[in-house]
């Protein structure tokens, strides 16, 4: 069973090939190169290095969001098109869960964080090696998140490069409860996307057409429109 993994949900880019439960190759980078320029060449290169043709793949795993809207869409579009045209199953994995999966052999609570601008984050809380969702993926103001974490009254391990943006704030609210993961856990990795994917059931290839990103947030224009409709109803 040969898996291709694709991770482009935020600035970092990662692609990997896993064969029969063993990592064959993985590429991880965190540079300012658009995913449109970087992702497809990375897939081409990794397959060439390991001597595989696109059709040799058995399944594709992709980080489905949340994260940067455009980043998520590029990974999903590549994965969806490859899976559909090659007629191989496509498995989506939460970008937050995949990042939390970096923290192996840890039994506590893990909080992955992606910056969502203006004091907001995409975040969740996963626990232990089973990565059980204690708080589901969501979009929130950092203050809202910290309040919920404080109520849990247990140590929380923060992971992700964007944690640094909020670290002062986090320590201020959580004090000793807050633990910072080592830097080498901070980049999302396509091998973890694949590892989480292998725990899921393989969908039918027909399902690929209906695969969509998990934005965890409605578009701003739509939010405003809904608000307007509500106000009209009240009048």
């Amino acid at each position: 069973m040969i898996w291709l993994g694709i991770e482009t949900a935020n600035t970092p880019l990662s692609v990997a090939v896993v064969k029969d439960g063993k990592v064959v190759a993985e590429m991880v980078q965190n540079i300012k190169l658009t995913h449109s320029a970087g992702a497809m060449p990375a897939i081409e290169e990794i397959l060439a290095r390991v001597g595989l043709k696109p059709n040799d793949l058995d399944a594709i795993a992709v980080s489905e969001g949340p994260g940067s809207y455009t980043g998520v869409r590029i990974g999903v579009t590549l994965a969806k098109t490859l899976a559909w045209t090659l007629q191989k199953p496509l498995v989506g994995v939460s970008s937050l869960q995949a990042l939390a999966a970096n923290v192996v052999l840890y039994n506590g609570m893990i909080c992955p964080v992606f910056d969502a601008r203006r004091g907001n984050v995409y975040t969740a809380v996963y626990q232990g090696m089973a990565l059980e969702a204690i708080v589901d993926d969501y979009h929130a103001h950092i203050d809202d998140l910290l309040e919920r974490l404080k109520a849990l009254e247990v140590p929380i391990l923060f992971v992700g490069t964007d944690v640094d943006i909020f670290w002062e704030n986090i320590v201020e609210v959580l004090g000793d409860q807050a633990v910072r993961a080592p830097f080498s856990f901070d980049l999302p990795r396509a091998t973890e996307v694949i590892r989480v994917a292998t725990k899921k059931e393989l969908p039918n290839v027909e399902a690929t057409h209906y695969f969509v990103p998990q934005y965890k947030r409605i578009a701003e224009a739509e939010a405003n429109w809904l608000k307007e409709q509500k106000e009209k109803q009240h009048e």
Binding site: T77, T81, T208
Partner: protein
């Protein structure tokens, strides 16, 4: 990737620059084997215009289904294709990126070369799907984002001899439609009202400098707004048909006159119209009449090929492919891409 010789002359073309997710299969740059367009207009209507983020979301939802449908209607497999063409720009960057990344993944998986096409070259080449293009040629491009007179010496040679200095013609149509409280997109509705109208409110014609082929429509748009404002102040009702007719007459007269003058000066063998506004009945009738009298062959594609579609992208890609133009897997969306000659 990069064969120069085609097996079947079959190009799969993909277009996603704005609010249509489209795929088509074109044979030898002139024959439409299939042409699929999934429009998002219904979804954007409630916002009164295209919302880029919503457009991008719909493109991801639709893209593989639209490509599959294009192959199914053509009764072809990926192995029967010779190349993949995709709109590289200009347009909404987030929207462009969906078509581009789908095209790259498809091209890679099926070992096909890829060609990045300029959206306006596509609009112009929609004409190649109807009759052979004869050079030198003059194209009047009138769409939602562009109003240009393009002189073409030969295939792949583009010289923009005039363009709008402010609003595009389609943009002016859509803005005036909003003044008249018409639903988005306003162009077709104004065309309809203008057709029904008997009286026309007189609006100015903007000619700019005597020898200029440039256009300006923002003054006309303001004149319509002022007219409505004055009528409102006086408590008088405006006649939407008379406003639409007056506005359309002004647009059509200027577009027709400048196109005719350019066709004469450049002594072209053929004049073509392209882009969404070329679907306009008033404009088509007017251009047909003057060029008929002038004795220069004039063509405009059927309505379906005037608004955004992928067939036109496949038509433009063929001469590019033959000229050896190739994209690669690093292709990025180019929202401000310029129309450049490839010869």
């Amino acid at each position: 990737m990069g064969e120069f010789i085609m097996k079947n002359g079959m190009i799969l073309a993909i277009e996603s620059s704005c609010d249509e997710t489209a795929a088509a299969i074109i044979r030898n740059g002139k024959e439409i084997v299939s042409n699929v367009v999934a429009s998002q207009i219904e979804s954007h209507k409630r916002f009164g215009g295209v919302v880029p983020e919503i457009a991008s979301r719909h493109h991801v939802e639709q893209i593989t289904m639209v490509i599959e449908e294009a192959l199914a209607q053509a009764n072809l497999k990926p192995a029967d294709l010779d190349a993949v063409a995709v709109t590289e720009g200009p347009g909404l960057v987030g929207a462009l990126l969906i078509g581009i990344n789908a095209a790259k993944a498809f091209a890679f998986a099926n070992n096909l070369p890829i060609v990045g096409v300029h959206h306006i070259a596509g609009h112009i080449y929609a004409n190649a799907l109807v009759q052979p293009m004869e050079f030198p040629l003059l194209a009047l491009v009138v769409s939602g984002g562009h109003t240009e007179l393009v002189y073409m010496k030969e295939h792949g040679s583009f010289e923009v001899i005039g363009e709008t200095r402010d609003d595009a013609a389609g943009e002016a149509y859509d803005k005036v439609a909003r003044v008249l409280n018409l639903p988005y997109p306003g162009g077709p509705r104004i065309d309809q009202l203008a057709h029904e109208g008997e009286e026309a409110v007189p609006f100015p014609r903007v000619w700019l400098e005597e020898d200029s082929y440039d256009f300006s429509f923002s003054g006309l748009k303001s004149a319509v707004i002022n007219y409505k404002h004055n009528m409102d102040q006086r408590g008088e009702q405006i006649s939407p048909t008379a406003v639409a007719k007056g506005f359309q007459e002004s647009v059509v007269e200027v577009l027709t006159a400048k196109t005719l003058r350019a066709a004469r000066e450049y002594q072209v063998k053929q004049v073509i119209a392209a882009g969404g506004v070329a679907a306009n009945r008033g404009l088509r009738t007017s251009l047909e009449a003057v060029f008929n009298e002038e004795g220069i062959p004039f063509f405009v594609p059927p309505l379906k090929l005037c608004t955004d579609n992928a067939a036109m992208i496949g038509a433009a890609a063929m001469p590019m492919f033959e000229a050896g133009m190739r994209g690669n897997l690093m292709m990025n969306g180019r929202p401000g891409m310029e129309l450049k000659s490839w010869v």
